[in-house]
């Protein structure tokens, strides 16, 4: 067993875990934060499990929980801790950026990091940024529109 201390959304989880436990399972089963989803088996291709590790989007199924020891994790629950949605979450709502919602947490986490790094992306760049997240419902158009809406709002605010 490995002792870990993982900060998830500002709360410290100190637990003993089997070395083989994946970070995504720690988040779901130990921290009971089930917004982070599991959508594939061993490949790490779907992106539903995307969280922030020290502020950067990563797939939490491709990490052991032990690897996150002494690191900071943010999950979708950490985006709006006081219940006030972020502009990206609002845009997903108003632009119908989701249907079943299975992929949504991962996409929100990836795009939150993406927009921090690229505040004014082109549509092409947004599409490229989304490659690591599969969505089986929306056809992506509404997701891209939601991200573009946030970009446009930010630009308007600047001018």
């Amino acid at each position: 067993m490995a002792k870990v201390a993982i900060d998830i959304n500002g709360r410290l989880f100190q637990e003993e875990v089997p070395e083989r436990m994946l970070l995504v399972d720690f988040i779901r089963e130990r921290a009971h934060l089930t917004g982070t989803h599991i959508g594939c088996t061993y490949e790490g291709v779907c992106g539903a499990c995307t969280v922030h590790l020290d502020g950067e989007a990563v797939k939490s199924c491709m990490l052991l929980a032990a690897q996150a020891d002494e690191h900071k994790i943010t999950t979708v629950e950490g985006l709006a801790p006081d219940g006030e949605l972020t502009p990206l979450q609002e845009a997903f709502k108003s632009e119908h950026g989701l249907q079943c919602g299975f992929c949504t947490a991962g996409i929100l986490m990836n795009m939150t990091d993406f927009l921090k790094r690229y505040p004014n992306p082109s549509e092409q760049e947004i599409k490229k940024g989304l490659i690591g997240n599969l969505c089986r419902c929306t056809g992506y158009v509404h997701i891209i529109n939601a991200v573009r809406k946030v970009v446009q709002e930010n630009q308007l605010r600047k001018t």
């Binding site: 061993y42 490229k128 490659i131």
Partner: protein, 292 residues
């Protein structure tokens, strides 16, 4: 999917600590870099390591430096760091072509150049690019002895390298060839930025009469990273115009067998080699002359 039981997880923060961990007579050790290939193998239980040694805290393996005609990239440098590095000179920009198109941004936030080179997947972007750029791997054994292995001798075939079991890749060196050098990498896969069905890298140098006096053309997707020696030779002493490049790619197709599978037919693979090869070599040439 759940990995098979793992007995120990270690995260050395210095190379000395790492060597002492490797020095034990333990079997089934797995060194973990970004985990973007290794964790697939661990989760699918293709690998069942008893002890995982995580390199993430070894900050001394995360760097890109360029001095005295040599670019050195630390093994733990991530794709995202390569893409954003200001230290990579224009003539080695193929490294950025490759790193910026690996998988997706989550993979690039974790995956490292060293992990990709040591894994040497049959269709990966980094080995083929490092082979074209004539990189040299700096390896160290737990007893402290070091050696340098040229890319030509390092990649032995899909998933095989000249690295000994407990050797650690520290960094990769690239010699700079100076003005009129250019490089490029491009791939085609079934979906955007996927593992390549065919990927081609090229590195060219032109002399002061604008004739090509150095050419390395490499191919991946068929059976790991491989040189296209006859095609390289055919470009020497030419100006590498479109016809000459097309001829070089015809030579590649006549020498290398392709095959049909669910991703592409053998003929389609030949078409990809010709099309991507022409594009890549033309881009490398343009870059050599400061035009691209």
């Amino acid at each position: 999917m759940y990995p098979a039981p793992i007995e120990q997880y270690s995260r050395p923060s210095t190379l000395e600590e790492l060597y002492s961990l490797l020095d034990s007579n333990e079997e089934d050790i797995l060194v973990l870099a970004g985990g973007q290939s290794a964790m697939q193998a661990v989760k699918s239980r293709m690998l069942r390591p008893a002890h995982i040694i995580d390199l993430q805290a070894l900050s001394e393996l995360k760097f890109v430096t360029s001095e005295k005609g040599l670019l050195t990239v630390g093994a733990m440098t991530r794709y995202v760091d390569i893409v954003s590095s200001d230290s990579i000179p224009l003539e080695l920009i193929a490294l950025k072509d490759a790193a910026s198109r690996v998988g997706d941004r989550q993979v690039r936030n974790r995956g490292t150049i060293g992990g990709s080179l040591c894994w040497n997947y049959s269709a990966a972007c980094t080995p083929v690019t490092v082979l074209a750029l004539d990189g040299a791997m700096n390896l160290i054994s737990p007893d402290g002895s070091t050696r340098q292995v040229a890319a030509d001798d390092f990649f032995l075939g899909p998933l095989e390298t000249a690295r000994n079991e407990f050797e650690i890749l520290l960094s990769v060196d690239f010699k700079l060839r100076g003005s009129k050098s250019g490089s490029a990498y491009k791939k085609w896969g079934l979906v955007t930025d996927a593992l390549p069905v065919i990927g081609i890298a090229a590195c060219l140098h032109f002399d002061n009469t604008d004739c090509c006096d150095y050419a390395r053309i490499t191919l991946t997707g068929l059976s790991g990273a491989q040189r296209c020696l006859e095609a390289e030779a055919s470009l020497l002493s030419t100006t590498a115009n479109t016809e000459e490049i097309a001829e070089a790619m015809m030579i590649v197709c006549s020498k290398i067998p392709t095959y049909t599978d669910s991703m592409a037919t053998a003929d389609y693979r030949y078409q990809l080699i010709k099309t991507i090869g022409l594009e890549v070599i033309e881009i490398a040439k343009k870059r050599a002359f400061g035009l691209g």
